[in-house]
Amino acid sequence: MAEVLSSLESIKVIYCAKCGMPPEYCEYGPDFERVCLPWQKKKVPELYAKLRALRGEDKLLKGDGDEEGDDDNVADIKPDAPWTTEERLTKFYEMYVPEKVDDVPSLLEKYAGKEDKLFMALAKKYGSEPEDPYYMDDDEDDDDDEDDDDDELAEGMDNLGVGGKKRRGVKAKKSVKSETRVLIQKVVRQRKKATTVVVGMDTVEGVKLKDVAKAFSKKFAGSSTVKKGVNGEEIIIQGDHMEDCAQMIVSTFKVEGSCIFLDFNGEFVPFK
C-alpha cells in the first residue's frame, strides 16, 4: 500500500465479538484471557497466530516480565480445547484409582449418553473431580463444548452494550472488587426531628454519591447531602426514612437486601 489509491476501498473490519474492539486491542480489555483469547482462537486463527507472534516478539525486545508478558504466559500454558469426556474420565481415574484407568473405554460404552450420571456417581464415591485447565478461569463447568458455541456468541452480543461500560485499559486490571455494605442509621437531632444517615453507598458499584443524594431528596421530599464522616462518605437525609430508604436502595440501585444493614439502637439488622 505504498501509493495512495485514487478510489475508495472498503474492507470488512473484524471486531472481537466479545469486547467489540479490534482484536489487536483485546489484550487491554478486562477479560482478555478468559473471553477474548478463546474467541480469537476459534474464529480468527490466522489473526491469533499473528498477534501471538507480535506479542512474542515484544517479549524478546523488552525482555522483562511486564504485565502483558505475564498474560502471554498464562495464555500459552492453557490447552487449546477442553477435555473430551474420555480425557475427563481418564483424569478422574488417574487421580483416585489409577489401576482402573484401563477400564475407561468400556465404562464409556456402558454409560454412553448418561455421562452426567456417571460423573455424579463418581464424584459421590471418590470426591470432587479434577479441574479442567481449559476452564480454570471459567466458573461454568459444562462438558459439552459443541453446542454452547452459539450461546456464547449471543452472550457476547448481549455483553457488547455492557462491555462499553466495563473498565478498559489501565484501570481494567486495577479495579478491586470491594464488598458492598450499606449501613442506614437514624440520628435524632431534636426531640421530634431526626435525620437518616446512609453510610457505604460508595461501595455500591456504578453509582455516584451525589446522584444518590439527589434521588433521595427527590423521593423523600427533604434535603439530602453528601458529607464526609468518620466511616467515609455518608449521605444525610432529613427525616426518618430508614425502611423506605432501604427499600429504595434495593429497588433503584440494585443492591442486595442482605448487604443493607439497619441500625436499631446499635444493633445492625440486615434488611431482608
Binding site: 485514487s6 475508495l8 486491542y25 515484544d58 485499559g169
Partner: protein
C-alpha cells in the same frame, strides 16, 4: 467527549444541505491533503445526503444513511464536530477504509492502555523515538514521527499506536508539533474519541 455517549443522547436529526455538505468536504480535504477528491466523493456521496445529529449542546454528528433489506434504514456516524472545531472522522470509518489517509501521528506503546481509558496524549508519548515503526503510508515524516510540514494548534488528528494496525483514537492538538517537540511535557493532544468509548460502540443510530 464521547466516553459515556449513548444512542439515546442524540436529540434532533436533520438532513444536511448540499452547500453545507460541500463545506464539510472542503474542510476535510483541507485538513487532510492526502485524501483525494474522488475518495471523498465516494465517502460522502451527494445522494442520499448526510444526516446531522445534535448531541448535547455543542456536538454534531454527521451520519450516512445505510439501507437495510429487512429493517428501516439506520445512520452510521462518519464525522463529528465539536463546536467550530475540526471535522473529525469516527474510528469505525478509519478502520473500514484503510486507504483513506487522514493525517495521523503514532504514539508510544506504553500509552495504549491509558488512551483506551480515555486519557489525553502527553507529549513524551509522541516524541519518544521509535525503533521499528514505519511512517504511515503516503505521509512524509520527520525523524520524530510528525508529518511535514508540522501540525498547528487546533488541528484534528488521527492517533495510531506503535505496532498496531488500527487507529486508536481521534484528537485535537493543543500545541503545534514544533512546540510538542520543544516542551515535551504535558498534554499534547486532547483525545475526543477513542477505541471503546460510547461513539465507537454506537456503530449506527
Amino acid at each position: 467527549m464521547f466516553k459515556s455517549f449513548e444512542r439515546s443522547e442524540v436529540s434532533t436529526s436533520t438532513q444536511v444541505k448540499a452547500s453545507v455538505q460541500r463545506g464539510i468536504k472542503s474542510r476535510v480535504a483541507d485538513a487532510n491533503p492526502q485524501i483525494t477528491e474522488e475518495q471523498l466523493d465516494e465517502l460522502l456521496p451527494k445522494k442520499p445526503p448526510l444526516v446531522q445529529y445534535k448531541v448535547g449542546p455543542h456536538m454534531m454528528l454527521y451520519c450516512r444513511r445505510v439501507e437495510h433489506e429487512d429493517v428501516s434504514p439506520t445512520d452510521e456516524p462518519v464525522f463529528f464536530q465539536h463546536r467550530d472545531g475540526p471535522i473529525l472522522p469516527t474510528l469505525r470509518v478509519i478502520h473500514k477504509y484503510p486507504t483513506l489517509n487522514f493525517t495521523s501521528v503514532t504514539v508510544d506503546k506504553g500509552a495504549i492502555p491509558f488512551i483506551l481509558g480515555g486519557a489525553n496524549i502527553m507529549c513524551p508519548g509522541l516524541t519518544k523515538p521509535y525503533q521499528s515503526i514505519m511512517p504511515p503510508d503516503g505521509i512524509e515524516q520527520d525523524e520524530q514521527g510528525f508529518d511535514k510540514p508540522g501540525l498547528s494548534k487546533g488541528d484534528g488528528i488521527v492517533i495510531r499506536a506503535e505496532g498496531k494496525e488500527h487507529a486508536i483514537a481521534i484528537g485535537v492538538m493543543t500545541m503545534s508539533s514544533a512546540e510538542i517537540r520543544e516542551k515535551n511535557k504535558g498534554n499534547g493532544i486532547v483525545v475526543s474519541h477513542f477505541l471503546g468509548d460510547g461513539l465507537f460502540f454506537a456503530d449506527e443510530l
